[in-house]
């Protein structure tokens, strides 16, 4: 129950500031060190979680990259695209298991990622859930593959052309359906189409084999296996290992240019879509987003804190209520609407042509430092206004609330009673004690530095990190998503650590080593 350990080596001094500094820093030092050490496991968990989230998200980057049309074209054509697809997945390492080990149930298959197509994997996963017997389901899947091949390789003539098209349709449906009724329907449909034409005898045979395999899946179901938890071990040949450590040699020159060095050695990979190194892409967006975010934070705090204090001091006056209403109005109108309105009315020759509607200008630093600076300011003015206006309400409201809580304390009454000027009471005695919520909010700005305001960057077509991140998420650009998340994570951790230190600095009663 003691307050922070007091380090009195420098003797008792009356100089308040020095004393506080000495008192704070020592017990905090160990705490900060401990926290920084904990960064490592936290970052590990975040990266792993991102990996898992990416892998369960629908859609497959390889599929998008090849932009393949599903199932059309001749047999050879289809075979070559299938091969290209498999090769691409192999090159990107998507056919590897996610992590060193995985928890699952006994029914599951641990080499699932080798099955190339995502929709097929989903269907098979559902079948495993329903029947719990991977060996039989695997046989069934191979039979469907064989059936597809036999449909594709059957020479086409005038008697069977229609039937073949229908058959191919049905097979494609068979791949993505897992409901018993639907599969039974599809199989009878296939059988009917194949039996109708004599030249499709091989197909008919394949259909029968598929049917038999499916019957076996249903007959030999082992649903109980689903309830037995097991651990699959996959060793170091996994996506996570490859991303973190890379597969290049640790010592000496690496001759193979396709090998990667891994995140730990500063190799963030190459974007799946733009084919540019992730590092340079992020760097391009980073300075813009950083600049905007820092300006936004400064503007918000410089305006909101004095505003909140003045509202608290004049609580329930006309000033308080009218400013509060005005702030709430600004908060209520969503940024995307105000932004659009501003662009429409303030940036168009039809109304007021005050601000540029988009971009950051074409001036370069070579045109003269002040010219570039002016151009940048001119382009950033409106985005900054739009980005900041809605936060004033929340920040100043928090400041007002905590200031009010402090102003009720006895020591404030004491300070007033001993005749201190109101300004001194507020700024010297009350402010420091009312900063906790403000610090809490401050910490969450750190990750915003990298996330940026997606909406803002969209509205004003600013090529910042927000846009890059959004595009990466939509396109499933794994290296981009991972690198972004890791940087956001590091900033979040730093932000929270800074806020925890600030808590103890502004309020000496706060200690983290309380026994």
């Amino acid at each position: 129950m003691k307050p922070v350990e007091v380090k009195t080596a420098s003797g008792t001094t009356d100089s308040g500031k020095k004393f506080v500094a000495a008192k704070i820093s020592f017990p905090l030092f160990g705490y900060v060190l401990k926290r920084i050490l904990i960064f490592i496991p936290t970052l590990f968990i975040i990266s792993l979680l991102t990996f898992i989230l990416i892998s369960i998200a629908p859609g497959d980057p390889a599929e998008t990259m090849l932009n393949r049309s599903s199932g059309d074209g001749q047999a050879s054509n289809k075979l070559s695209t299938d091969k290209a697809y498999r090769d691409l997945r192999h090159k990107l390492g998507l056919d590897l298991p996610i992590f060193y080990f995985s928890f699952g149930n006994m029914a599951e298959c641990d080499t699932f990622n080798r099955i190339a197509k995502k929709d097929h994997r989903e269907t098979l996963d559902r079948l495993i859930y329903d029947y719990g017997n991977w060996p039989q389901i695997s046989t069934y899947y191979q039979q469907v593959n064989a059936l597809e091949m036999s449909v594709l390789t059957t020479p086409r003539d005038s008697t069977n052309a229609d039937a073949l098209i229908e058959l191919r349709n049905l097979v494609n449906k068979l791949y993505i359906n897992s409901k018993d009724v639907v599969i039974a329907d599809l199989l009878t449909g296939l059988q009917k189409n194949a039996a109708a034409t004599p030249s499709l005898a091989t197909v008919s045979g394949a259909v029968q084999q598929t049917q038999a395999a499916y019957e076996l899946v249903k007959k030999e179901e082992t649903v109980w296996k689903r309830y037995v938890p097991v651990m699959h071990w996959s060793g170091s040949q996994n996506q996570y290992h490859r991303w973190l450590f890379g597969d290049a040699k640790w010592f000496g020159e690496e001759s193979d240019p396709t090998k990667t060095k891994g995140f730990l050695r500063g190799d963030f990979g190459v974007s799946f879509f733009s084919k540019r190194p992730v590092k340079s892409m992020i760097w391009d967006g980073l300075w813009i987003t950083m600049l905007i975010s820092l300006l936004v934070i400064v503007i918000e705090y410089v305006i909101s804190i004095p505003l909140g204090i003045s509202l608290a001091v004049r609580k329930d006056s006309l000033y308080d209520s009218s400013v509060t209403v005005a702030l709430f109005i600004t908060y209520s109108l969503p940024v995307f609407w105000i932004g659009t309105m501003a662009i429409f009315f303030l940036c168009s020759p039809d109304y007021l042509d005050i601000f540029p509607p988009f971009g950051l200008g074409y001036a370069t630093w070579d045109d003269g430092f002040f010219y570039k600076l002016g151009d940048l300011a001119y382009h950033l003015a409106l985005p900054l206004i739009i980005a900041t206006y809605s936060s004033f309400a929340y920040l100043s409201r928090q400041m007002r609330g905590s200031m009010l809580a402090v102003l009720r304390q006895d020591y404030i009454r004491t300070a007033r009673a001993k005749g201190l000027a109101e300004n001194v009471v507020i700024w010297r005695h009350a402010l420091r004690n009312s900063l906790l919520p403000i610090i809490t909010i401050f910490a969450s700005f750190f990750p915003a530095l990298i996330g940026g305001s997606i909406i803002l960057e969209f509205l004003f077509t600013i090529p910042g990190l927000g846009q890059i991140t959004y595009a990466a998420v939509i396109q499933k650009d794994y290296p981009m998503i991972l690198t972004n998340t890791m940087f956001a994570a590091i900033l979040t951790l730093v932000g929270y650590l800074v806020s925890d230190i600030l808590y103890a600095v502004v309020d000496p009663r706060i200690s983290y080593n309380k026994k």
């Binding site: 209520s332 972004n484 200690s511």
Partner: protein, 429 residues
């Protein structure tokens, strides 16, 4: 004095209620919330294309009630009314709801967003679109009324989820810190081990059962979800029963610290590090159909961290104050002190953040609609706002929902203010 003391002891919350009622602005704000809730509940009676009462072909009908009954699976509309054009039937006698439009119905005479003051093609003032129409000719007032239901549910449900989780987690982290909560070693082991089993049997093996049921209907989905949570809870209870038995063994029963602060803050860091938009996009793409309840769950599940961090920061301070020490020396249990004495003194920033959160959730929903990720089968305030973006001249598409959100932010903040004052015994006079 003694009598007052006793009275206070009897019920702190009754006292808070009395104090709250003294503050007029807060009280009126509460009435405004009641009004919104009433509009939300009565939406089908306030804005509907069907008449409230009508006499048709000599029969008396109550079509709106009937519609509700049909919705619950009780009864059917008579055949001649099943696909009726309610607006143009020749009634003997009819009373329409105050707004005779449904939010999704298109009025083909008034397409291309007619404003409240524009000339509208309507049979009489009774059919006027008081708040105008949108691009497709849908009535904005009706959209506002039905949107109230969604706004209220989104705001209140998601922030309730966020505040329950947030206050609980934040309180554990802030009050107990890293060194103030001891349990036996075996209990920690058992809880960690059974956490895995709980997830495995509660959610892992039932993943498809839950998603299937959610796809079918919300009710069935909730039943399956509750079942899963029940299994999870049962497994955890079992873990603790086992631990209670096993801690009799001396080696296992050794008391160790639970670093609540460390663990909970790490969870918050992990959650906040993953971009929210990424999480939302991901979950929506897994669920496939952007469903309102999913959006509420996501907003709730991602915004509890803010509440938790506010509570934690305040409690870090509060736990070192003298009165907590006093309560401890009086022999109150830790949880008694936490919930009765510590949390009420840490609520001010939390109430503000919840008040803003309710409106924030409504705005998040509108931003999702703006990005094209909102629910498709209903009209929400947010969607109206995002239509407004496409047609800047149509101010009525922005002003009305914007005003409604403004009222929400304001009243919830005033209620929060009133509660802060009522919770503080220093303002007793």
């Amino acid at each position: 004095m003694a009598a007052v003391q006793q009275n206070n002891d009897q019920s702190y919350w009754a006292y808070v209620k009395r104090q709250f009622r003294k503050k007029k602005t807060a009280l009126y704000s509460l009435y405004v919330v009641y009004f919104f809730v009433a509009v939300a509940l009565l939406a089908p009676f306030l804005a509907n294309e069907k008449p409230l009462v009508c006499k048709y072909n000599g029969h008396l009908y109550f079509p709106v009630f009937k519609e509700l009954a049909v919705g619950f699976g009780l009864g059917e509309f008579p055949r001649e009314l099943q696909n009726a054009d309610w607006k143009n039937l020749s009634y003997d006698f009819v009373i329409f709801p105050p707004v005779p439009y449904l939010p999704m119905n298109q009025d083909n005479d008034n397409i291309h967003s007619k404003g409240p003051f524009d000339e509208q093609v309507i049979p009489s003032t009774r059919w006027k679109h008081w708040f105008g129409t949108d691009e497709l000719g849908r009535d904005v007032l009706s959209g506002m009324i039905h949107g109230t239901r969604i706004a209220m549910t989104v705001g209140i449900v998601s922030m309730s989820i966020a505040s329950v989780i947030g206050i609980f987690m934040g309180a554990l982290a802030g009050f107990f810190g890293d060194n103030n909560f001891q349990v036996s070693r075996i209990r920690i082991w058992m809880n960690l081990l059974f956490l895995f089993f709980g997830f495995f049997y509660g959610f892992g093996v039932r993943s498809y059962a839950i998603t299937d049921a959610l796809g079918e209907s919300l009710g069935k989905g909730l039943v399956q979800l509750l079942l899963s949570i029940g299994i999870f809870a049962a497994v955890m209870v079992l873990a603790n029963l086992l631990a209670t038995v096993l801690k009799k063994i001396p080696a296992l029963g050794k008391q160790v610290n639970v670093p609540f602060d460390l663990v909970i803050m790490r969870i918050i860091e992990v959650l906040n590090s993953i971009p929210t938009l990424f999480l939302i996009l991901l979950i929506i793409s897994i669920v496939r159909k952007p469903n309102l309840y999913v959006i509420m769950l996501i907003i709730g599940a991602t915004s509890w961290t803010g509440v938790a961090r506010f509570i934690r920061a305040e409690l870090l301070k509060v736990r070192n104050l003298e009165y907590i020490e006093a309560a401890q020396s009086l022999g109150f249990s830790n949880f008694q002190i936490l919930f009765k004495h510590a949390i009420p003194n840490a609520l001010s920033p939390v109430l503000i953040s919840i008040a803003f959160g309710i409106a924030g959730a409504i705005l998040t929903e509108s931003t999702l609609s703006f990005l094209g990720l909102g629910p498709a089968d209903t009209v929400t305030w947010g969607q109206l706002l995002s239509y407004a973006r496409q047609i800047p001249q149509a101010w009525w598409l922005a002003i009305f929902p914007g005003f409604a959100i403004f009222i929400n932010v304001t009243v919830f903040n005033l209620i929060g203010d009133g509660l802060t004052d009522a919770l503080d015994p220093r303002l007793k006079q």
